[in-house]
Point group: C2
Chain length 193, copies 2
DNA sequence: CAAAAGCGTTGATAAATATCAACGCTTTTT
DNA sequence: AAAAAGCGTTGATATTTATCAACGCTTTTG
């Protein structure tokens, strides 16, 4: 169960975890299963947990006045699910996070994460890298959104994230790209000619 | 000159810098002046420097096939200017960063920054916080972009970033929001009624 | 197994936004 | 001081994207 997480940490650090450190990781992260559609975080709650996905797929989204969902993040295996904004700022979340497929997670509290960062240099290094990469990916996506047409955005997305295309239905991809499902359907029709 | 930076670090850490640590900061960060329009980073170069703005204003932008600039970031006093993507991944930057006003910076190399993070716990703490906040701000902006109309996006931006509205011309704000200057002009006209 | 919900597609139409061109005003450059 | 460049605005028009409604197919649910 925890092997994936250990391997993941070791891949993202310069010095691998010692046996004792591994034990601390195992003791800290609790396995948890979510059924499809089950919430991991609900809008309005302060995010107190971080989940590492062992198996499954999740999504993070806001809901506007009209009740329309807007996907800000898609998660699959080896991704960290949580609302960093809420967890860091200790503010109520503007997002929901739920399971799109039945999902197995390893869960730690935000407080536990801070403790691990203190105690394990490797863990601190890994989370720092995650923070940096999250920003990088987000900025790229932002740049793509303000620079490109919907069509180009979809092409780029499909090229760089084929895993997501296979895994999530089109209407979620459309939402992630900031367009309607109808528009995406038409874009794909055009492109296939 | 370095007082702003020292104060900034102390504001973003739990334990203030010691005298020795302050000396190390001062020794590491070199003052640098940029004239208006001067580049701090050019597209295609690997970002090797990080600049803390003492006085002035800068912008970071990509240029598309048609030669149109798309602003991904605006910087003023107490902001850190750099392309994190290029600096972390060691890849050629897709962005330009230049001075919008005459600007005074304190500059360190990316390598120096890594050294400081190793040596000074406070500095490590501060940069971690910066990484987290950058992501948070970016994700908020992304959510706003995919969820709202141009009008709402501008309202939100004006409400949360009045400093930028005063400091940068409208066509840069428009680009930052992902719309044309004409559209922003019309939005403002509407809103003023 | 039947009913319902989820998904992708298509058509007709409306709304949002971009494009192109022109103008007046201010600031910067020569 | 004159010329050029930068900025914001407006009008006319084109393009992109959203909205609303309907349909067929598949998957899930009762």
């Amino acid at each position: 169960m925890h092997e994936n997480l250990i391997a993941y940490i070791n891949q993202h650090t310069t010095s691998p975890l010692t046996i004792e450190e591994e034990a601390l990781i195992v003791a800290t992260f609790q396995p948890k299963k979510l059924r499809k559609k089950q919430y991991f975080l609900q809008e309005g709650d302060v995010c107190k947990y971080v989940g590492f996905i062992i198996k499954g797929a999740m999504r993070q989204y806001s809901v506007d006045d009209k009740g329309i969902e807007h996907i800000v993040q898609l998660y699959i295996e080896n991704y960290w699910a949580s609302d960093r904004e809420s967890a860091v700022m200790l503010t109520p979340s503007r997002y929901n996070i739920d399971a799109w497929e039945d999902t197995e997670l390893l869960v730690a509290t935000v407080a536990d994460m801070l403790g691990l960062i203190e105690k394990l240099p490797s863990f601190g290094q890994m989370t720092r890298l995650m923070d940096q990469r999250s920003f990088i990916v987000s900025q790229r996506r932002l740049n793509s959104t303000i620079s490109n047409t919907a069509e180009k955005r979809y092409e780029e997305f499909a090229a760089f994230h084929p895993q997501f295309i296979q895994r999530f239905p089109q209407h979620l991809i459309a939402s992630f790209l900031g367009i309607t499902k109808e528009t995406l359907s038409r874009i794909r029709k055009q492109a296939s000619k």
